[in-house]
C-alpha cells in the first residue's frame, strides 16, 4: 500500500470514528424517545403520527370581551389567573388591529403544538418534548429551568413558574423553577374528553373553538381545514402549528 493510501485510510478511519461518536448519542436519543412515547401510548395504543390533535379557531365567533377559555384553563390547571408580569398564562386573549385598515380581531393564543417545535429543538435535556399524538409538553422532572424554550417560542406560549405553586391538580403537576405551557389538557384527552378551553367556549362562549384529529380525514376539523382558508401563525417560520385560525386572512 502506498504511503498516500495509508494516510488516506487512516484519515478515513479517524473520520469514521469521530462521526460515530457524534451520531451515536443521537441514535440512542431517537430510540429512547420512541420508547417513552410507546410507553405513554400504552401497549395497544396508537402509534407515532397516527393521531395529530389540532385546533381550529373561528375568529368571527370569538368576541373581544369574552375570556371563558382563559378562565376554564386557569381552573382546570390550577393556575392563579393573575396577570402580573411574572404570572404563568397558558392561554391568553389577544386583541389585534390591522395597522392599515383598522379592522380588529380577537383570538386566543396558546401553545400551537408545532410539528417542528423550536422549544423541543432548543431544550438541552429533552424535557420539552412532542408526544406521539403531536402534543408538545414539558416533562417537569427533566426541566432544569434554563428558560431557553421561553426564548425560542415564536408564540410566547411558554411560561416559567416564578411563584410558589400550591393547590395543584394531581393530573397536572407543576413545579416552581420549571417551564410549562398548554398541553391541550392531555390528561383529559387521554380520558376521551376535549380540552377545558374548547368545552367552555362551546358551552358559555361563542363556540369558536373546534378540536379534533387532523390526521383523521373524517374528523370535522380535517374536513373544515380542507375546505376553508385558515392561517397558521408565523407560518413563514416553518414550525407547522397544529392550531389554525380562520377569518383573519
Amino acid at each position: 500500500m502506498s504511503e498516500v493510501n495509508k494516510e488516506r485510510r487512516q484519515l478515513l478511519g479517524a473520520g469514521a470514528a469521530v462521526a460515530s461518536l457524534v451520531v451515536a448519542p443521537g441514535v440512542f436519543l431517537v430510540t429512547a424517545g420512541k420508547g417513552r412515547a410507546d410507553e405513554e401510548a400504552g401497549e395497544a395504543g396508537p402509534q407515532w403520527g397516527k393521531v395529530r390533535w389540532g385546533m381550529l379557531v373561528d375568529t368571527a365567533k370569538c368576541s373581544s370581551g369574552c375570556t371563558q377559555c382563559v378562565s376554564a384553563c386557569d381552573k382546570e390547571n390550577h393556575l392563579s389567573g393573575e396577570t402580573l408580569p411574572t404570572s404563568s398564562q397558558w392561554i391568553r386573549k389577544m386583541e389585534l388591529t390591522d395597522r392599515e385598515t383598522g379592522k380588529s380581531y380577537s383570538l386566543p393564543m396558546m401553545c400551537q403544538h408545532c410539528d417542528n417545535a423550536p422549544c423541543v429543538d432548543v431544550c438541552p435535556t429533552g424535557a420539552s418534548f412532542k408526544r406521539w399524538d403531536g402534543i408538545v409538553s414539558v416533562d417537569r422532572h427533566l426541566c432544569i429551568g434554563c428558560r431557553y424554550c421561553l426564548m425560542a417560542c415564536p408564540y410566547k406560549a411558554r411560561s416559567f413558574v416564578h411563584h410558589p405553586v400550591t393547590d395543584q391538580n394531581p393530573d397536572v403537576p407543576r413545579g416552581q423553577g420549571c417551564a410549562e405551557s398548554c398541553d391541550f389538557c392531555k390528561h383529559r384527552i387521554d380520558e376521551g374528553q376535549i380540552p377545558a378551553c374548547v368545552e367552555a367556549c362551546g358551552s358559555t362562549g361563542g363556540g369558536a373553538l373546534l378540536f379534533g384529529d387532523l390526521n383523521d380525514p373524517k374528523s370535522e376539523i380535517s374536513q373544515r381545514v380542507a375546505t376553508i382558508a385558515t392561517l397558521q401563525v408565523r407560518a413563514d417560520l416553518g414550525t407547522e402549528p397544529a392550531v389554525r385560525y380562520e377569518g383573519i386572512l
Partner: protein
C-alpha cells in the same frame, strides 16, 4: 522558553491576602444570592415572563465570551509562531479557564432548578440543542486548555505545545460560535436570528479577552514589583485597537443588514433611535465608552504611551462589553415578539409592548460573585504555580523574540 524564567509571585504581604479576602466576600455574597434564588424562586429577581434571561446571563455570557478571548495571547504565540507572546501564554491559559469557570458558575446557579445540574443536565442530552452541545464545548475547552498549560509548564511536554495550542485555538473558535449561536438560532426574535452573531461574538471575545488579559497582567506585575517593557505593551495595545475596530465593523454590518430588511426596520428604529434606556446604553455605553473612547486613547500619540491610559482603555472595553451584552441580551428580549405582522397586538400577557426590566440586587451579586470566582482562581493560580515570567522587560522579551526566529 529557556531565556524566560517563570516564577510564582512572592506575596506574603497583607495586600495579597487582603485581595483574596475581598474576593472571598464577594463570592460569598454571590452564593448567598444564589441560595435565595434557589430557595425562594426567581420571583425575588427582576426577571419575568418577558425578560426571561436577566443580569446573571449578561455577566455569564460576557465571561464565557471573554474566556475564549483571553486565550488569544497564547494562541498567537504557539499557533501563529509569534514567539514574543510565548512568555505570556501560561497566564493567558489560566485566565481563560478562570473566566469560563466564573461564567459557568453564574449560568448554572441562575437555573430554575440548579439542583438538577448533575442528576439531569449532565445525564440527559438533546443534541439538537446548542445548549447541550455547549456542555461539551465548555468542558472540552477546560480540558484542552489544561493540557495546553501542562505542555507549556512541564519541560518534558514542551514538544507538544504547538499541537495542544492548535487544538485549543480551534476549540475556542467552536466554543464562541456555540455561544453566539445561542442567540443566532433564535429565529423568532428579530434582534437575534442572524448567522452574523457567531462571528460577531468571536470578534467580541478577542477584544474583551485581551482587555482583561492586559489589565490582569499589569496588575500582577505592578503589585509584585516586576517589570513589563514597552515592546510587549505596545504590541498588546495595538492588537487591542485592531480587535475593537473589528468589533465595531461587525456591529455596523449587523445593524445595516437589519435596516435593509423592511420587517426589521421597526425594531432597529427602536434600538437605535427611540428605545429609551436601551438606545442610550447602545450609543453611550457600547459604542462611545466601549469602542470609540478606547480607540481614541490607544491611537492618541501621547495617551497611547501612558500605562495608566492604556489600562483605562482596557477598563472601558470591559465596561462597554458588559453593556454590549446587556443591550444584546436584555434589549433583544425587551422588544415584543411579532406574532401577526402588520397588526397592532395587545393582551394580558404583555404582547405588543416593550418590556421593562429592573434587575434585583440578587442578580447583580450573583453576577459579581462569578467575576470574583474568576479573579480568585487567577490570584491563587499565579501564587502557587509558575504562570508569570519573572520579568517582561524589553531586553528579556527581545532576547526571547530573537531566539524564536
Amino acid at each position: 522558553m529557556s531565556s524566560v524564567v517563570f516564577r510564582e509571585i512572592e506575596s506574603r504581604g497583607k495586600g495579597y491576602y487582603g485581595i483574596l479576602a475581598a474576593l472571598g466576600v464577594v463570592i460569598l455574597a454571590g452564593l448567598a444570592a444564589a441560595y435565595n434564588m434557589e430557595t425562594r424562586g426567581h420571583i425575588i429577581t427582576g426577571m419575568n415572563q418577558q425578560i426571561v434571561w436577566g443580569l446573571p446571563h449578561v455577566f455569564a455570557v460576557f465571561m464565557i465570551v471573554a474566556a475564549s478571548g483571553a486565550l488569544n495571547v497564547a494562541s498567537i504565540g504557539s499557533v501563529f509562531g509569534k514567539s514574543m507572546y510565548k512568555p505570556l501564554a501560561p497566564l493567558s491559559g489560566l485566565l481563560a479557564i478562570a473566566l469560563l469557570v466564573g461564567g459557568l458558575t453564574v449560568l448554572m446557579l441562575d437555573l430554575g432548578r440548579p439542583d438538577r445540574i448533575v442528576t439531569v443536565a449532565m445525564t440527559h442530552f438533546n443534541f439538537s440543542s446548542i445548549f447541550a452541545l455547549n456542555v461539551f464545548l465548555y468542558t472540552g475547552f477546560m480540558t484542552i486548555v489544561a493540557i495546553y498549560l501542562w505542555t507549556m509548564m512541564e519541560r518534558r511536554m514542551n514538544p507538544f505545545t504547538k499541537a495542544a495550542g492548535v487544538a485549543a485555538f480551534i476549540w475556542r473558535l467552536l466554543l464562541t460560535t456555540g455561544t453566539g449561536s445561542i442567540f443566532g438560532f433564535l429565529v423568532a426574535r428579530q434582534l437575534y436570528d442572524s448567522a452574523l452573531l457567531a462571528p460577531t461574538f468571536i470578534v467580541m471575545s478577542f477584544a474583551y479577552g485581551l482587555a482583561i488579559f492586559i489589565l490582569v497582567l499589569m496588575a500582577a506585575y505592578n503589585w509584585t514589583g516586576r517589570e513589563i517593557g514597552d515592546v510587549i505593551m505596545m504590541r498588546l495595545k495595538k492588537l487591542l485597537a485592531i480587535f475593537i475596530a473589528a468589533m465595531l465593523y461587525f456591529v455596523a454590518v449587523y445593524h445595516v443588514t437589519n435596516i435593509y430588511y423592511a420587517e426589521r426596520r421597526a425594531v432597529e428604529a427602536w434600538l437605535l433611535l427611540h428605545g429609551g434606556i436601551q438606545t442610550e446604553l447602545f450609543w453611550i455605553g457600547q459604542i462611545l465608552v466601549g469602542s470609540i473612547l478606547p480607540l481614541v486613547i490607544l491611537f492618541h500619540p501621547k495617551w497611547g504611551k501612558s500605562r495608566a491610559m492604556i489600562a483605562s482603555a482596557c477598563g472601558l472595553v470591559i465596561v462597554g462589553g458588559l453593556i454590549q451584552m446587556y443591550v444584546t441580551i436584555i434589549g433583544g428580549q425587551a422588544y415584543p415578539l411579532v406574532l401577526f405582522p402588520g397588526m397592532k397586538e395587545s393582551s394580558t400577557f404583555y404582547d405588543g409592548v416593550v418590556h421593562p426590566y429592573y434587575p434585583s440586587g440578587y442578580e447583580l451579586f450573583l453576577g459579581l460573585g462569578g467575576v470574583a470566582i474568576a479573579l480568585f482562581i487567577v490570584a491563587v493560580g499565579i501564587k502557587v504555580l509558575r504562570f508569570l515570567p519573572e520579568s517582561l522587560e524589553d531586553h528579556v522579551v527581545r532576547a526571547h523574540h530573537g531566539e524564536g526566529h
